[in-house]
């Protein structure tokens, strides 16, 4: 038995190290830096039904141990994705998880239907939490709508469904519970944390879109907290995302309750790091004779809190 294998309801992965949407291009760009076939899964950049030009530059800015982005889902639309990128992705020998975003429930359902008969797709990840897109309703912040969306997509999808959640809510467990009730196979936590950067001397916001999403090591504590809270309250497999750079970062997410992880911003400054993390994980499992990585998941020991 492969000790690194994990299953998230209907989604089976050969190992728990994935790469996050929007941080790995369409995978082709990353091919010089690592063996793509080794990864547990690849999640290409979010696709929308129609092409989107994205936001005006400046689109990213570095902040302390992190970065803000307002890319705005720049992509060529679903048909071009299916024609131009999907054949390459599905040839790589790893799980391809297609990340989609719709402006309406109908758009999500139509995109899901379009992808339904296509072979080689391991799962869909629904980006219901992109902070950079105006116009659409933010399904990621409203439990009723998140439930309805999940249910309707589940009804037409032969593929496992992962819902990617935003941390920009008061109670992330309420949304996680709603999508679990809607039948989702798993949730990914977290998308970026809303933020802003200002050039005070010019009295101007630095990002073209004014507000953007914070990612990188700076958000790891927020991500760990979200994974922990959902793991404690909701019975649904979790994919942990947020600031994962080192082996220890990754292990913290497993212990908090994640069954798998995604490497995001780190791909930008250490293009081969996802492969390094996987190798370190393999070495750890061998060294400790761990029969299965799953025995690490949600092993956090909480203090018994006395109320005063």
């Amino acid at each position: 038995m492969n000790p690194l294998a994990v299953s998230l309801n209907r989604l089976q992965l050969k190992n728990p190290v994935l790469v996050a949407s929007g941080t790995f291009g369409y995978a082709r760009e990353m091919a010089p830096y690592l063996d793509l076939s080794g990864l547990g899964g690849i999640i290409p950049k979010t696709v929308t039904q129609q092409p989107r030009i994205g936001n005006a530059p400046q689109r990213t800015v570095e902040t302390s141990s992190g970065m803000l982005n307002s890319i705005g889902l720049d992509n060529d639309g679903l048909e071009t994705f299916i024609e131009k990128h999907l054949p390459y992705l599905t040839s790589l020998g790893t799980a391809v998880i297609v990340n989609i975003a719709g402006k309406t429930i109908e758009e999500f359902v139509q995109m899901t239907e379009r992808l339904a008969p296509l072979s080689g797709i391991a799962a869909l990840e629904l980006n219901i939490s992109c902070p950079n897109v105006t116009g659409g309703v933010d399904y990621g912040t409203n439990p009723e709508m998140a439930f309805e969306l999940t249910q309707k997509v589940m009804a037409v999808s032969p593929h496992p469904i992962i819902i990617k959640l935003t941390p920009n809510v008061t109670d992330v467990t309420a949304i996680a519970k709603a999508v679990a009730d809607g039948g989702a196979d798993a949730v990914s936590l977290i998308n970026t944390v809303q933020g802003m950067a200002i050039d005070w001397k010019r009295r101007k916001p630095i990002l073209g879109n004014v507000i953007g999403g914070l990612s990188g090591p700076a958000i790891k504590p927020v991500a760990l907290r979200c994974v922990h809270q959902v793991a404690q309250k909701v019975n649904i497999p979790i994919i942990g995302i947020g600031g994962i750079t080192t082996f220890d970062d990754m292990m913290e997410f497993f212990v908090a309750g994640a069954s798998a992880i995604q490497v995001g911003t780190t791909n930008f400054f250490k293009p081969g790091q996802s492969q390094n993390l996987l190798q370190e994980l393999k070495a750890y499992v061998e060294h400790t004779n761990l029969p299965s990585i799953t025995s690490l998941i949600k092993t956090l020991e909480l203090p018994t809190v006395k109320k005063c």
Binding site: P32, K45, V61, G66, N69, G216, T265, N267
Partner: protein, 289 residues
């Protein structure tokens, strides 16, 4: 055509050892790195991403252009130089690097300048933008080769280097080019403390009016590049610009480095990633803001 697109090799991730790090002009340094993996692949106009290991602030790599490669006593290409201008977080920390320390790199990246196969090339540089012009000139004049490139040599080929900076103290010495009979150097400073007083675009206009130059390559501040593109267009000389769009990854993964490139579409343009489709673009294909 006086130029042909360059064949480039796949990039690699590598660790490099600092060989030297010297100030060559005001706030301008030349950093020599031992790194055969990149050095043997690097071509003029290409860049790398450089990162200081062991820290998360600054977090991202920063792009720097190839200045020149160097060889060991046996003639093997073992490393290269970059030039950097100190403006912020990372470039500030680079000044503290001492020989023996290591930095992380990935590259070579980008398309590089097209290979120059014409008769007379004008290289126009503003500030730190002069560094990629050194390797470009050495290659065009057949003095050196880089990576896979094999520009057919021609004894008649000439390069005019036009180099502008704020003042004399901001000008770096162009030792590599000074002794070359087919290279001409023209300098301009804003305050007239060296060379022509004013912008380098003025001597460029005069040079192009003679009708001998068959291509212009330019790297410098945005305003200068815009002006250079206008002048080249007015003389009907093809012009390539090396853009310094801010980059987060340098490898095409993040979509942050986009520039407007003209296209047969509804809007007449589309965003292209400067790091993989550039950083060098033909000026007439760009929609400069």
């Amino acid at each position: 055509m006086p130029t042909t697109p360059r064949q480039v090799t796949a990039p690699v991730e590598a660790r490099a050892i600092v060989v030297s790090n010297v100030e060559i002009a005001a706030h301008t340094y030349r950093l020599r790195l031992a790194c055969p993996e990149l050095a043997t692949r690097f071509q003029p106009g290409q860049f790398l991403m450089l990162r200081l290991p062991g820290r998360t602030d600054p977090l991202l790599g920063r792009p720097y252009a190839l200045y020149d490669t160097y060889a060991d006593a046996q003639g093997n290409t073992v490393g290269f130089d970059i030039g950097y201008h100190v403006i912020g977080k990372q470039t500030g920390l680079l000044t503290e690097l001492i020989p023996g320390q290591v930095v992380d790199l990935w590259g070579p990246l980008g398309n590089g300048f097209p290979q120059f196969t014409g008769k007379h090339l004008a290289c126009v540089a503003g500030g730190i933008g002069y560094t990629p012009m050194i390797a470009m000139t050495l290659e065009a004049l057949g003095v050196k080769t880089y990576g896979q490139s094999t520009t057919p040599a021609s004894p008649e080929r000439r390069v005019s280097m036009l180099y502008g900076a704020r003042s004399k103290s901001h000008l770096a010495q162009l030792h590599e080019l000074e002794s070359l009979p087919n290279a001409t150097i023209t300098v301009a400073t804003d305050d007239g403390s060296a060379g022509h007083k004013g912008f380098i675009t003025e001597p460029l206009d005069t040079l192009l009016a003679k009708g001998e130059v068959d291509a212009v390559y330019c790297c410098g501040p945005e305003l200068m590049m815009k002006r250079v593109a206008q002048i080249a267009a007015s003389h009907n000389v093809p012009c390539w610009l090396s853009l310094e769009t801010p980059m987060a990854c340098g490898i095409g993964a993040c979509f942050s480095c986009v520039v407007k490139v003209k296209e047969d579409s509804e809007d007449g343009w589309d965003y292209k990633r400067s790091c993989i489709e550039g950083p060098i673009f033909e000026a007439e294909k760009l929609l400069l803001s």
